[in-house]
């Protein structure tokens, strides 16, 4: 049975099983109808021109993985940022793992969507924010229709969260193929600060398809610092849909590090709803083999005096393919907008492909918008210079790549995350560098 049919036929059973209030029920049914109509995206859609999901949709995914498998902390510790104290929201095959998690309800709420859906005290937040900024496109609708679990983070006014929050989704591979649809909601009220680290990790090489949706709301003067670490197994695919709504004077930055996985699609959408907002989108992509990474970013400048900064670096080896589609829309009212977008790519192999589409749509005149996009190689002269001075070619190349990616790396604000990313890059480039970057 095709995955779409399978999803459609299992929806009724699912609907009867979940015990949620009627409002959510309505949102679900609407989203379900939407997906039923639209189906999975195909290459015929402009937004999916360069990414085909066909190869991963043919797996026979188990939509509601049931078999619970115990996971030992020792086995998965390496996937955590473990050298600092953090809150943790951990899911195993889509189910909450109290054993690995560390949630809180003191001053702030770091807990579960399932709790938020069902407990009366969260109802106002769910009513105000759930599914409010998410686009009603095919995959987001699919997620909404089946959304039951995920991280729920609510930071009330004037709180600086003292430690970062980690959201980790493990897949154990207990099923031959697993489909997960985590749904998260992050609401950061006025003047509050929060740092979040997100990771999807498959523990075996059984195929996984994750269709994640995260909604983030940054109220006035809120600071949100979000890190996505994508270093999954080569049989795990991810469609990550992130929607961010910002109010005046808020600053939201999202760093996406894509090193692993089969097909990774990042839909990162920023909507600016107030003045003096800053939106920061940065990413490093280093892939090889037959990996495919697709970054689709949207910054919608709706109001005046806002800024956005995008910086995406990519290094592609072997037969990997990559896509960068950065869209900036500046509305008529959004005067004095400053929007910058930069995308630099290095092709290491003759078989690798990069498709870039940096796109600007501007309706206001008093704006500064620019985008730059390059595709090139590492500097042979620089490499030769290093070789002359006794640095082996491989290490020399790695150094150049680190330098290339450094503008993104240096803006990572959590030292331990930066350290981890540096290690991952070194690992990916198969070198040992004897110093910290």
């Amino acid at each position: 049975m095709e995955l779409k049919d399978k999803l459609l036929s299992s929806y009724v059973a699912f609907e009867n099983r979940v015990d949620t209030n009627s409002d959510i029920h309505e949102i679900r049914s609407k989203a379900f109808q939407n997906f039923e109509e639209l189906g999975f995206p195909t290459k015929k859609l402009e937004a999916w021109k360069y990414t085909s999901l066909n190869s991963i949709l043919k797996e026979d995914y188990s939509i509601f993985p049931n078999k619970g498998v115990a996971v030992e902390l020792a086995d998965v510790k390496k996937y955590f940022i473990h050298d600092i104290d953090t809150y943790k929201v951990v899911f195993i095959d889509g189910k909450y793992s109290p054993f690995l998690s560390e949630t809180t309800h003191e001053h702030i709420d770091v807990c579960l969507m399932s709790a938020a859906f069902n407990k009366g005290k969260y109802k106002p937040i769910i009513d105000n924010y759930f599914n409010k900024v998410a686009k009603q496109d095919n995959l987001t609708s699919l997620n909404t229709a089946f959304a039951t679990e995920g991280a729920f983070i609510h930071i009330p006014k004037n709180i600086e969260v003292e430690k970062p929050i980690q959201i980790i989704n493990f897949t154990t591979g207990s099923e031959a193929a697993t489909m997960l649809q985590p749904r998260s909601l992050v609401v950061v009220e006025e003047n509050s600060h929060v740092q979040i680290i997100e990771r999807h990790q498959s523990l075996t090489s059984n195929p996984v398809l994750t269709n994640a949706v995260t909604e983030i709301f940054a109220e006035k003067r809120a600071f949100v610092d979000y890190y996505k670490i994508q270093n999954d197994d080569n049989n795990a695919s991810l469609v990550d849909n992130t929607y961010i709504e910002q109010q005046s004077n808020s600053v939201v930055s999202v760093h996406t590090f894509s090193f692993g996985g089969n097909i990774t699609r990042n839909n990162l959408n920023f909507y600016q709803k107030g003045e003096y907002i800053d939106s920061i989108l940065k990413g490093i992509t280093i892939i090889e083999g037959k990996q495919h990474v697709d970054h689709h970013t949207l910054v919608h400048h709706i109001t005046p005096n806002c800024e956005s900064h995008q910086d995406y670096k990519g290094i592609y080896d072997e037969r990997s393919t990559a896509v960068f589609n950065g869209k900036v829309i500046v509305e008529k009212e959004a005067q004095k907008t400053n929007a910058y977008q930069q995308n630099n790519n290095v092709l290491v192999s003759d078989k690798a492909t990069i498709n870039a589409k940096p796109q600007l749509e501007i309706f206001a005149d008093d704006v500064k918008c620019s985008h730059g996009c390059t595709i090139g190689q590492l500097d042979d002269d620089a490499l030769f210079y290093m070789q002359q001075r006794g640095i082996p070619k491989k290490e020399g190349k790695a150094l150049l790549m680190f330098a290339f990616a450094n503008t993104v790396l240096e803006s990572v604000k959590i030292p331990e995350v930066k350290q981890r990313i540096t290690e991952l890059i070194a690992d990916k480039l198969k070198v040992k560098i004897g110093f910290d970057l």
């Binding site: 290491v348 492909t353 589409k357 796109q359 501007i362 309706f363 620019s370 595709i375 190689q377």
Partner: protein
Amino acid sequence: MSKYTEDDLEQELKTQEYKYGFYTDIESDTFPVGLNEDVVRAISKKKNEPEWMTEWRLEAFRVWKKMEEPEWANVHYEKPKFQDIAYYSAPKKKPKLNSLDEVDPELLDTFKRLGISLDEQKKLANVAVDIVMDSVSVATTFKKTLGEKGIIFMPISEAIQEHPELVRKYLGTVVPTTDNFYAALNSAVFSDGSFCYIPKGVKCPMELSTYFRINEGGTGQFERTLVVADKGSYVSYLEGCTAPSRDENQLHAAVVELIAMDDAEIKYSTVQNWYPGNKEGKGGVYNFVTKRGLCENNAKISWTQVETGSAVTWKYPSCILKGNNSVGEFYSIAVTNNFQQADTGTKMIHLGKNTKSTIISKGISAGKSQNSYRGLVQINARAENARNFSQCDSLLMGNECGAHTFPYIEAKNKSAQIEHEATTSKIGEDQLFYCNQRGIDTEKAIALIVNGFSKEVLNKLPMEFAVEAQKLLEISLEGSVG
């Protein structure tokens, strides 16, 4: 003028009417409206075309019938009703002319009002002009000089008669009949156009130019241009157009094919000033053009365009860099005002090794217009050491217009070097202030800035064309240029 502000400019732009709005009354014989196989056959017959040409047209027509109008462009318009168009119109009298004296005085007067004096051009500019008056060439000059060099430059309908082997060999090789909706339509019904062949090693001694005009109310014009530059040759081809003021939308779907063989160079310049519609956005020409060039080894094709007219423009002059070391260039200024919409850009397809391409695109939008750049740079797996540089700059005047860029960059070879940059800005208050401080009044300052903004492209125009290009910029953005 005491104080000339940007608001004044905007005001002027808003109220600027099309200056070349007039209509020449030459008795035409026009086909009844509508399109079917019989009409295609009739056009072919009227042209006295050989059998293969009729078949070629019919094949294109059959393909066209199955095609749908493209909707991906960032333009919105009322679709032309293809069955309400008369597909053929020609001035009835087609006298064989040896000198300008024999040309219909009314026609000469038309050109005078356009500011184009054939006489003057002949003497001063050394330009051979193949005037296309409503689909059929009326006068060809300088044929003799060109003939001595072996250069063939004639209406394509004549070329089909006189050089069928050349036309048959090359027609439709760069833009196949099946290429797209409008190219297929054009292939089926094209009435006339120009054919140019430069023999091996010949450097064309003069700029070749054709002036296209839409003249008959309700007649779509379907021009077909084919330029073949044989090995080691060089040609500079100029094309410019103005159309009279009409209220109904007129369709213009031309196809231009360029073939540059080994070591050849083609420079193709366009000044386009079709009627853009009035300031309420009523009327105006739909300009849906397919232009493409093919470069063999060491060949070079350079497109330069100044786009100021048309209500809707849909145009992507492209280069297929098939041969090694071939070069493609695209220089464009697109000005939109009032309700004009332009979706224009280029495609650079790198197939050969060491191929280079340069794209410089300048968009100026004013009024309520929408100006889009849409481009593709494609480096194929075997295109070693391909190089591309793209720059798209937009200038916005007022906050009711829009500027958009849709660049597609596809690289499949690691040795590719691609740079793309785009900026959007307005004429800065500080820039104007700086000029004012130095005694340059605001009007001159705006002119200076717009001129500077478009300089890189204007510089690429041949000398003979520069005057006309400036004239057209003046009309489109009067008060801001010169």
